[in-house]
């Protein structure tokens, strides 16, 4: 089937099998390997991307379902050379270790802060509940999102999180 999908602002037209999962389209067809696959059942969230403004698990969506949609992946989050505040927060607060869940975690966090500029710790935890991390115990991820939220609100991000690298 012919699909036309805008990914990180660039429009792509491709011929795909109906069964091709969106995550494989991004990774195999477009070469955007920042979006990862960590499970089969829509649990781990490593494949999280934002489709038409809403974060979803791209391993549980067919490419054909995304026909005509705007997709944002981790590769499209930064503003050119300037990191997104969420990316900066993960870096500053050691919000990642192996980094495999990180792109999905970042996409969920970006979407969370876009709809709730000042989430509580509980709201942050609920916002990333669909993204499993095996390395951090989520501690520094929570701090990272707090950092990013403060930065996006124009506050001192280092005050929002005690776990900031100097």
């Amino acid at each position: 089937m012919e699909v036309s999908i805008t990914v990180n602002g660039a429009k792509h037209s491709s011929e795909v099998e109906p069964r091709l999962l969106l995550v494989h389209y991004l990774r195999e067809v477009l070469g955007l390997t920042g979006t990862h696959v960590g499970c089969d059942t829509g649990y781990c969230g490593a494949c999280t991307v934002i489709v038409d403004g809403i974060p979803i698990k791209s391993c549980s969506m067919l490419t054909v379902q995304a026909d005509g949609c705007e997709v944002r992946t981790v590769e499209g989050v930064a503003n050119g050379p300037e990191l997104h505040p969420v990316q900066e927060g993960f870096w500053e607060c050691h919000g990642l270790q192996c980094g495999f869940c990180t792109p999905g975690m970042i996409m969920s966090s970006v979407a969370l802060l876009e709809r709730n500029a000042n989430p509580s710790e509980t709201e942050i935890r609920q916002g990333i509940e669909g993204n499993l991390c095996r390395c951090t115990g989520y501690h520094n991820i929570v701090k990272s999102v707090q950092y990013a939220g403060a930065k996006m609100r124009g506050e001192d991000p280092k005050g929002a999180s005690s776990e900031v690298a100097s």
Binding site: M1, E17, P18, R19, L21, D40, T41, G42, G45, T48, I54, P55, I56, K57, C59, S60, M61, L62, V64, Q65, D67, S108, Q126, G127, E129, G130, N131
Partner: protein, 282 residues
């Protein structure tokens, strides 16, 4: 995990979709895909054709229709969970939707899809039962309405025929409701080990009507008729609630699995009925 091949159609009108399903043996309706796609990836389900109904306009609305509210086929869990109309008139369903899986899944999965599949560990079928929802099914053979009480037949089995689409559900206004559960990871996260959806109508200090549904307890959600009977006509006191809770699994074959023995699940059913009732009658 890679799904087997299938034909895919994405009709832009309900009639087209129904036509695509007509006479179908192994055609599956795709709405959010949060169950169907993983089942296809695991190759447990191998449809010949998938009919994606997400491009049909008008199926994704929650509307106020006087004495009832309507939830369309493509309304996502996240919308059901947060929509003011659902929160006001069908809070058990909003709460059940809010406790379904995680936010990313709620952003795709649909309430009607969850009801149509009727997975054992689904949250929303119980709420639909307690709220006395009416299911609206359509096929080329026509449309029909199915009461929730007649809809959830068995594990992963609803009253929908293979060629039917659950186009919307309607929920009557009135009463108060809530949904309480124990999840697999404890708390209210994840699939329910046991859950209670309760709806009560109170007038002049007594319970004039009640429906109490349980899900995650048996192979299909069910109305605990004995619980409701124990409550209706009472003053909603602690004793009345305890009596209602004691009938939570009457006549039901309680399932045993990795998360609960029959005894524990039976006990939990009573606990959650009581807790839910304490909430709505407080």
């Amino acid at each position: 995990m890679y799904p087997p091949n299938f034909d895919y159609v994405a009709p832009t009108s309900l009639d087209e979709a129904l036509a695509a399903l007509a006479g179908a043996e192994n055609t599956k309706v795709l709405s959010g895909g949060m169950s169907l796609i993983p089942l296809m990836k695991m190759r447990f389900v191998r449809p010949t054709t998938v009919v994606d109904i997400s491009r049909i306009p008008g199926l994704d609305d929650v509307t106020d229709d006087g004495d009832h509210i309507t939830i369309g086929a493509m309304v996502r869990h996240a919308t059901t969970a947060s929509h003011p109309l659902v929160q006001e008139h069908a809070s058990a369903l909003a709460e059940a939707a809010n406790g379904t899986a995680d936010l990313l899944v709620r952003n795709r999965g649909t309430t009607c899809g969850s009801l149509a599949l009727n997975a054992v560990a689904a949250d929303q079928p119980g709420a639909a039962l307690a709220l006395n929802a009416t299911m609206h099914a359509a096929s080329v053979r026509g449309t029909r309405e199915i009461a929730a009480a007649d809809f959830f037949l068995d594990a992963m089995t609803s009253a929908l025929a293979p060629d039917e689409i659950l186009t919307k559900i309607t929920i009557p206004k009135g009463g108060v409701s809530t949904y309480r559960k124990l999840g697999r990871r404890g708390g209210s996260s994840d699939y329910p080990i046991a859950a209670a959806a309760v709806w009560v109508d109170v007038s002049d200090g007594s319970v004039s009507d009640a429906r109490i549904a349980l899900n995650g307890v048996s192979s299909t959600p069910y109305l605990a008729v004995g619980s409701a009977e124990a409550l209706v006509g009472s003053d909603g006191s602690a004793d009345a609630i305890a009596s209602a809770a004691s009938h939570a699994t009457d006549g039901v074959n309680v399932l045993e699995d990795l998360y609960a023995t029959v005894a524990f699940r039976t006990h939990l059913a009573g606990v959650y009925v009581r807790r839910a009732l304490e909430d709505v009658l407080a």
